[in-house]
């Protein structure tokens, strides 16, 4: 797809044709800008409100008309919210959970993707089709039997059911990485083979370094998804000491149903790492989205 193509839709005609509609184009652009500003305010509105509420005094939360800038600004809400549940422990659990799943996903998906992209073996195309078709299977179909499997293995109340499957290459990211690997010239691999390198070496030393942006994309998306995962930990973990932040936060909510300022403070803290990661690695998020976007039909 030609991403490099100039992207104007409503604009003055440069040469020939009827009269240049300069005025109309400018008006269109202004309207688009106004609409974009309005829409982005709609997007930001709840998030900003969350931050505003998290800094309010108890009494001001329900005040009418609501005020945007809290007075006084109660920074203490954050410390108070964090201290009113074992959030530090939850945060450590979440971090370890998200990091291991990201590592497992990048490792196993890049292995499988290399196999599908760069090696020939009987049944490859069929197996790849199988991989693609698993993307259409609703997770709800495998949820019950997987639970039964893991409970028979005695893995309930451990992180094993949550982490181990990530080391067995999910379909989507394998597909995404394969697309990327296909673009790596075979000549490079051939050169390494001529030098006597085996495939594992080539995968580790030639392909992975060249695919850093794609690997980063997979890692970041997986981290984000795992950090925000609520259902799976809820299913497999009953011991409060094992809770990740999401489950901890849900529990915190039922205990503090009315203290909106504390709930919002805790929520902001839980979201903070994700927001920081987003702003630092924006490029990869956007790139990843367009990578998946180019996956058509």
């Amino acid at each position: 797809m030609a991403l490099t193509r100039p992207q104007v839709q409503v604009r003055p005609l440069r040469t020939g044709g009827p009269r240049p509609r300069l005025g109309g184009a400018l008006l269109g652009r202004l309207l688009a800008l106004a609409a974009l500003i309005g829409l982005s305010l709609l997007i930001l509105y709840p998030a900003l409100w969350m931050v505003s509420t998290s800094l309010k005094q108890d009494a001001q939360v329900l005040e009418y008309p609501p005020r945007w800038i809290p007075n006084p600004v109660v920074w203490g809400n954050y410390a108070k919210a964090w201290a009113s549940a074992p959030f530090t422990r939850y945060a450590i659990n979440s971090l370890l959970y998200a990091l291991s799943v990201s590592f497992g996903t990048v490792l196993s998906c890049s292995l499988a993707a290399y196999g599908f992209a760069k090696l020939r073996f009987p049944g490859r195309d069929f197996l790849f089709l199988v991989l693609l078709s698993t993307m259409m299977i609703p997770g709800l179909v495998t949820m019950v039997p997987q639970y039964v499997l893991f409970s028979k293995l005695g893995w309930i109340n451990t992180y094993l059911p949550l982490i181990v499957p990530s080391f067995f290459a999910g379909a989507f990211f394998t597909f995404l990485l394969r697309q990327y690997f296909l673009g790596i010239p075979n000549e490079l691999l051939e050169a390494a083979r001529v030098d006597g390198a085996n495939e594992l070496w080539i995968w580790a030393r030639v392909v992975l370094p060249l695919a850093t942006p794609a690997l980063a994309t997979v890692a970041i998306f997986t981290f984000d998804g795992t950090w925000n995962d609520y259902v799976n930990p809820l299913l497999y973990l009953n011991d409060e000491r094992l809770y990740p932040l999401q489950v901890g936060l849900a529990t915190f909510r039922s205990a503090n149903d009315t203290q909106w300022q504390l709930l919002m403070a805790a929520s902001v803290l839980v979201l903070l790492p994700v927001v920081v990661i987003f702003f630092v690695f924006q490029k990869y998020f956007i790139e990843g989205a367009s990578l998946t976007g180019s996956v058509k039909g």
């Binding site: 030609a2 193509r5 992207q7 104007v8 839709q9 409503v10 269109g28 800008l33 829409l39 709609l42 997007i43 509105y45 709840p46 998030a47 409100w49 008309p65 609501p66 196993s108 292995l111 196999g115 090696l119 073996f121 009987p122 709800l140 179909v141 019950v144 039997p145 997987q146 639970y147 039964v148 409970s151 499957p165 067995f168 290459a169 697309q179 296909l182 673009g183 075979n186 051939e190 083979r193 085996n198 995968w203 984000d224 925000n228 609520y230 999401q246 489950v247 919002m264 839980v270 979201l271 994700v274 927001v275 702003f279 998020f285 956007i286 989205a289 367009s290 976007g293 058509k296 039909g297």
Partner: protein, 314 residues
Amino acid sequence: MSRAAPAPIFRPRRRGLNGRQREALWGYLFIAPWLIGFLAFVLGPMLFSLYTSFTNYDITSRFDWVGVRNYVGLFTQDSRFWKALGNTAYYATFAVPLGIATGLLIATLLNQQVPGQRLFRTIFFLPKVLTGVAVLLLWLWVFNPQVGLINTALYRLGVNENNLPLWFGDPVWSKPALIIMSMWTAAGSFMFYLAALKGVPRDLYESAQIDGASPVRQFWAVTVPLISPVIFFKLITGISAAMQFWSESLVLTKGGPSDSTLFYGLYIWQTAFTDLRMGYASAMAWILLLITLAITGVQLWLSKRWVHYEGEVR
């Protein structure tokens, strides 16, 4: 982003049979993690689930064959099953088209030459990143009937205090609330459409303009057909995702009020892990699989009429 070149049809290397075998061996080794995972976490569980759906399995002891009793029971005696199916259909019917429209609208606006592109992209992508319980708690606050953002705004716009919707407290408004929520998230999908919009050749608009087509007409006659593969892709994946929409209602409403947010997935979850009726839940899961496949099949069939693959070999 056409980073993905097509797979080479033949490779220049000529090695003996031995080399070819070695390559195949490496190939199987590399895909082994996926293959084992597929057997252990997808195919195995699916077969188990299919078998279980014909039993009264409850995880503790019994595992008796009951034939199609689960299925018959679902269709003939379980009003909550129909309710859950209806709720899910309702959600999918509105959330998917509205989500596509939202993403497409933002992408179209961004495709005009406006200043601040980068900033806008960042803002609109944010909802894709902000998920999880924290954001659901935020929505609970946004839709709070007394002090929430939406009702406060409606009140200011002059809606009578007694006519303000109760959102998650009212069976009529609980699903619309979830749909509004989903549109916020869908804003982040503008990236898909933007990439496609940039691939539409300018000269097509030029000719359309010469023919006197209005911008709206150009949108329907030029833009939509040319980006139809992306819309189709989002339609397939969007419906499939909407059929499985439920974890939000687990956090927000627990299925209430009066089962108005009892979505199909939530009902499976409750049946399996609260009532421990694994056999019954498996039957439900298989019905979902069949429905999803049927819808996808129909869409593939319909797509021949409206999806244009311009110069693409598929």
